[in-house]
């Protein structure tokens, strides 16, 4: 069984090698000239004002938390899927309860207006 996973490692290493090779080749072939203006970050021809790494207002940060919760839920569904048929009706009820509880969560979040954009 393990041997069938070995190609993943091999392919990952070759991917890195290939990517590095492509960039290195490009580095070798392309010319290199530096000017002060060329090395500026692009800002539509203007001289950039201040550093770009500011603090930004991210209005959807609450939804990122919901995302984590539902991502974990979706992952819980996966093992259920492979033994759904052998488990019978019992499995359906089990997962029905699980999904229902989280649907209540989604309804709550929705009702509270947390999915609204201001």
């Amino acid at each position: 069984m393990l041997i069938s996973y070995l190609p993943i490692l091999v392919y990952l290493i070759i991917s890195i090698g290939l990517a590095v090779l492509i960039v290195a080749l490009s580095e070798a072939l392309g010319k290199k000239t530096h000017t002060a203006v060329k090395d500026l970050p692009y800002e539509c021809g203007m001289v950039p004002i201040s550093d770009a790494r500011h603090r930004y207002a991210v209005k959807f940060y609450v939804i990122t938390m919901f995302f984590l919760v539902f991502d974990i839920e979706a992952i819980f569904l996966y093992p259920w899927g492979v033994i759904f048929k052998p488990l019978g009706l019992f499995g359906l009820i089990e997962m029905g309860v699980f999904i229902l509880i989280l649907m209540v969560g989604l309804a709550y979040v929705w009702g509270k207006g947390a999915l609204e954009w201001e």
């Binding site: 940060y61 984590l68 093992p79 509880i101």
Partner: protein
């Protein structure tokens, strides 16, 4: 196999240490992602293919990406106030704590009787095996998880509310 494990374990340990000693939080988070990948590799070596896949999807794919996102947007690049003195104190206390933990782990390991490894059941670690125990033996914890996730949802809303109002 042993060689592969040693390489993975070494990378996991080194990346773990790098997570802690990096000053730049973004790089530290990147090392943590590398760490998660090597741990996923070790899971694979232990025949836990499903857990390995989940490790990558949930930790490296979702949680760490959002972590990194928060770090980048909070702009935590600048070294904190306090200077070298505090840093030194942190380093010493951190190293001491790590040492004590390591000693405890080693002590516990020598105390327990490991004995010969159990015979591995065919299909161990496969998705079916994980699913079977999750939906029969561990049914209650599984259902409680959904309540836990619900609480997390409500908590997130309330925290956000407190900020908004």
């Amino acid at each position: 196999m042993q060689v592969l494990f040693l390489i993975l374990a070494a990378v996991a340990l080194i990346s773990g240490v790098l997570v802690v000693i990096q000053v730049n939080p973004v790089r530290s988070a990147l090392y943590l992602i590398l760490n998660f990948f090597t741990v996923a590799g070790i899971y694979l070596l232990a025949h836990a293919e499903f857990i390995a896949a989940i490790q990558v999807i949930v930790y490296a794919g979702a949680i760490m990406v959002l972590f990194l996102f928060v770090i980048m947007l909070l702009n935590l690049r600048q070294p904190e106030e306090g200077g070298e003195k505090q840093h030194l104190a942190q380093k010493i206390s951190g190293a001491a704590l790590a040492g004590v933990t390591a000693l405890l782990v080693i002590y516990t390991c020598t105390r327990i009787n490991l004995g010969p490894a159990k015979e591995m059941v065919p299909g161990f670690g496969s998705t079916e095996a994980v699913a079977r125990s999750l939906f029969t033996d561990y049914l209650l914890p599984f259902e409680v998880t959904s309540v836990l996730l619900l609480v997390a949802l409500i908590g997130a809303v309330i925290l956000a509310r407190a900020r908004l109002d």
